[in-house]
């Protein structure tokens, strides 16, 4: 490679590096989040690393949040990338219970050098958080219930998370009530006597056998009575291989090839393959036309629209009966559903006469005003 070529290549690379340095602006911090439960006089030393896109970028480090007076930072400024230490020294007591957040921010210092012309530049800042949880006085529970959708006969996993956020330990008997969608109790599941230590999280689980359940939507309510009652509610669905026809095109214009939509809703907790519909339209008992729609796959509980096209030329205005049959497959099992519906065929209003008449009136008015204008000008000249 000649010296000239090498020079130009170096120049190009140099320019590219400068361009990239200009167009990228980045900042990061590790660790992003740390949680502590409050302890009187708790002391912690946390090492942070900061990285940025430029080795000469000045980054200022600061603390924010309602407990910021309890942290000290060993470096207030970093150039490019580097590390610093935060020392957390909590007091003997914090009055307000609940979650407190301290933000540790690394902020790129803005270069005040102006660009020519109207320019908008950017800078970036990142904030890592230290969360301090201060327990509530006495006993206090937060609970959260999670469930999953299943198909009939499968087990529903009921997972109860109990978070003791008070200063005192608790012994309680958690239970989960299963209700139908119209709020009728079906059964109650007991999770046994449970000891929950102050400021600790406990995960409990129970399974629900759905063999004797009907398909549909259900409500699960977890409750833990510890003097007060902590409650968490969630819904789950028990599915079966079924597609519901929720809607369809009810009115169609008579004007050649027209489209016919059918809305489908899956009640199955797995994918349904190749769902399509066959539509038969009748005049009294005689079949006038039949056509098939597009085919589609439906994910668990998904709603989708399938579409078919047919010629409407031979129809006259009126209401026709139609049979919509949806054919589908779930786990190699084929099923179908048929729905008898009514479709109204209407003629599209012919607006040609109105347009022609309107256009003629418009032209007459325009000609009238032009003529008037010309006559006025002619009079003025005389």
């Amino acid at each position: 490679m000649g010296i000239k070529k090498r020079f130009y290549l170096s120049l190009c690379l140099g320019v590219l590096v400068i361009v990239l340095m200009n167009i990228i602006s980045a900042i990061g911090i590790v660790p992003a989040k740390i949680d502590y439960n409050f302890e009187p006089g708790l002391e912690q030393v946390i090492a942070y690393s900061v990285f940025s896109s430029g080795s000469d970028k000045k980054i200022s480090v600061s603390a924010g949040g309602d407990l910021k007076e309890y942290v000290t930072i060993d470096q207030k400024e970093i150039t490019g990338s580097g590390s610093f230490t935060v020392t957390l020294k909590l007091p003997q007591s914090i009055e307000k219970p609940g979650m407190h957040t301290i933000g540790i921010s690394a902020t790129e210092k803005v270069d005040k050098e102006k660009s020519k012309g109207t320019t908008i530049g950017t800078s970036v800042a990142i904030t890592a958080i230290i969360r301090i949880f201060v327990p509530y006085p006495g006993r206090y529970l937060e609970i959260s219930l999670r469930t999953n959708d299943v198909n009939i006969g499968e087990l529903v996993n009921l997972e109860l998370s109990i978070n003791s956020e008070g200063k005192e330990n608790i012994t309680a008997n958690p239970q989960i009530e299963i209700l139908s969608i119209d709020n009728k109790t079906i059964e109650i599941l007991y999770l046994g006597e449970t000891f929950i230590q102050s400021q600790r999280r406990l995960e409990l689980s129970k399974t629900l056998n759905t063999s004797n359940y009907n398909p549909g939507k259900y409500i699960a309510i977890a409750s833990v009575d510890y003097g007060k009652v902590a409650i968490s509610m969630t819904n789950f669905r028990i599915g079966y291989l079924f597609i519901n026809i929720t809607d369809y095109t009810r009115q169609i214009f008579i004007k050649g090839l027209e489209k016919f939509d059918i809305n489908l809703e899956s009640s199955w907790n797995e994918e349904i393959d190749g769902a399509y519909a066959e539509v038969f339209i009748f005049n009294d008992s005689d079949k006038l036309i039949d056509f098939k729609t597009t085919s589609t796959n439906l994910n668990a509980w998904e709603e989708k629209t399938i579409t078919g096209y047919f010629d409407t030329s031979n129809f006259t205005e009126g209401v026709y009966n139609a049979n919509i049959t949806v054919i589908y497959y779930g786990k190699d099992v084929g099923k179908s559903i048929t729905k008898l519906v009514q479709i109204e065929f209407i003629k599209e209003t012919d607006n040609t006469v109105i347009y022609v008449l309107g256009g003629t009136i418009f032209l007459v008015v325009v000609v009238y005003f032009i003529r008037r204008y010309l006559l006025k000008n002619a009079k003025k000249r005389r």
Binding site: A26, I29, G117
Partner: protein, 209 residues
């Protein structure tokens, strides 16, 4: 004929020896575990993935260059980053907004602030006065959740940019396929704005969720 028979006997012996050799070799290979003191054990490998918060302005600079407001009944020019330069001369047309990416492994909240307001940045009084606005949208589907409706930011139309921090995205995902925000800008420059270079810096502040 005799020599043929002899050759046949030699061949049979050779093949037999080869077969015996093969059987012995296979047998020895099977015994290697015992011969080499083969032993089984289990080991565990532990590691901790640290949470990192990181953001990048992948497009960090917008410049319309130099220009002026046309003399016309309209007393201001409009510049934006969605391809409009209205009633201005020489300013470039810009069709790309600022683009911000979440590079960390935590979701973050994004707040925006500017180091100048519209008066400090642009100046002038003609028309509607100086206007400096921003609008935030998902550059990748599902990047931002605003805490209510999914897949939406917290600034969904052009809103006055401000020196005080403004919530732009309540939850910017760290998923590589949906971690990109676009920040579009719109300026109205009055005809009587003082000439000279005009610059402003927008700061994106990401806070770990």
């Amino acid at each position: 004929m005799k020599s043929t028979n002899l050759l046949m006997i030699v061949a049979v012996v050779a093949v037999s020896l080869a077969a015996i050799n093969l059987i012995v070799t296979i047998n020895k290979v099977g015994d290697i575990q015992a011969l080499t003191g083969y032993a089984t054990d289990t080991a565990t490998a532990n590691l901790t993935v640290q949470g990192a918060a990181s953001i990048t302005f992948v497009i960090s600079n917008i410049s319309w260059g130099s220009g002026y407001v046309n003399e016309s009944p309209i007393t201001f020019a409009v510049l934006d980053t969605v391809g409009n330069t209205i009633n201005g001369t020489n300013w470039a047309t810009v069709s790309t907004g600022l683009t911000l990416r979440n590079d960390g492994n935590n979701d973050v909240t994004i707040n925006l602030s500017a180091d100048k307001n519209s008066t400090q940045f642009i100046g002038g009084t003609a028309g509607n006065g100086p206007i400096f606005q921003w609008n935030v949208s998902n550059a990748e589907e599902g990047s931002c959740s605003n805490g209510g409706t999914n897949n939406a930011t917290n600034i969904t139309s052009f809103t006055d940019a401000n020196i005080t921090s403004q919530l732009a995205c309540w939850n910017l995902s760290n998923d590589a396929a949906s971690d990109l925000l676009r920040i579009d800008l719109r300026l109205e420059i009055p005809q009587d704005a003082a000439p000279g270079a005009k610059g402003v810096t927008i700061t994106a502040n990401a806070t770990t969720i």
